[in-house]
Symmetry: C2
Subunit: 165 residues, 2 copies
DNA sequence: TGTGATCCTTACGTTCACGTCAAGTTTTAG
DNA sequence: CTAAAACTTGACGTGAACGTAAGGATCACA
């Protein structure tokens, strides 16, 4: 019972969104509705659910997925949650444990594939930009060289390879 | 005069979008309206403009920018186009050339910064997923080991590090 | 036991990024 | 020269992802 019973406002603040958004995600089936909540009562969340929501929004943002795509990608992930729950119990037959783990592995692999594809595309973009940058810098140096001190080389802009704050 | 006079439909097909989208981008000022087009006449594009549009959509997609953000990011880039045009002419004073190049460098750096930030976030996500994956695989192996041939180890799913088609 | 803060549901409103339709014009192919 | 294909502007429509407001219930705390 580390951090039980967070309310929707707390959760929203924690992940940087609004209660409305969280309700909406529940509404479209992206988040599970806590099953034991008599309509009208407040929603209560655990820290684990906050984590899940964070992860979800991260995937959405970084992979540029629509909520529908996200739902598809994670529909399996519900199972993963159940997997984790079952795995925490010790009384599961190792055969079954193995099955669950393999399934989880499948889901992770699906996500990894998407992430790597994106990362690759971004890498390519970065390479091309770097290349363009190099060419620009080379041309500047050429001009400076040709102008042999006619005007001061005015200390070049800070290189782009600097610290990424 | 390599590939002059592409029509909006050709351009759309070339970059994988629709004429409407291109007109819309022009409408909101993301694409420049060809200045010498008497209203009513067909829009004509060059291969360079196709390239620019491709790049634009790529940035939008990979960086997850809104069209408004994209516009801000590229507002400067219009200048870059002019830079390239001017640089193609030889009769520009080297002093001016230098200025233009430095400006271009600034724009490139701004984009690079964004790209690198994103790439970093994606990298982190990938690392975490890989780590989770490792843990899952380790657990599976543990089970298999403990079960000393009770049931066949059923050849594990293909590793995620495979070819990225 | 109140009471202010937060939450509930319902429902309509909004913004972005286009889609779609209409009526007319321009280009291109024959 | 003509017909079909593609384009033009203008305007309204649409789906996704929420925002916002109303009227009322619930919760944490004194």
């Amino acid at each position: 019972m580390s951090a039980q019973s967070l309310r929707i406002g707390d959760v929203a603040k924690a992940v940087g969104t609004t209660p409305r958004t969280i309700r909406y995600y529940e509404e479209i089936g992206l988040l599970p509705e806590a099953p034991a909540r008599p309509s009208g009562r407040h929603r209560l969340y655990t820290e684990a659910e906050v984590e899940r929501l964070r992860e979800l929004m991260r995937l959405k943002d970084l992979l540029g997925l629509s909520l529908e795509e996200l739902k598809t990608l994670l529909s399996a992930e519900e199972a993963r949650a159940e997997v984790r729950a079952q795995l925490r119990r010790e009384d599961v037959a190792p055969e079954r444990r193995r099955e669950l783990l393999e399934e989880a592995l499948g889901h992770i692999d699906r996500q990894l594939k998407l992430v790597r594809k994106r990362a690759g595309e971004l890498q390519k973009l970065e390479d091309e930009l770097s290349e363009t940058r190099k060419r620009a810098r080379r041309k500047i140096r050429e001009i400076d060289a040709r102008a042999e001190g006619a005007f001061p080389p005015s200390p070049t802009l800070e290189p782009a390879g600097g610290s990424q704050s």
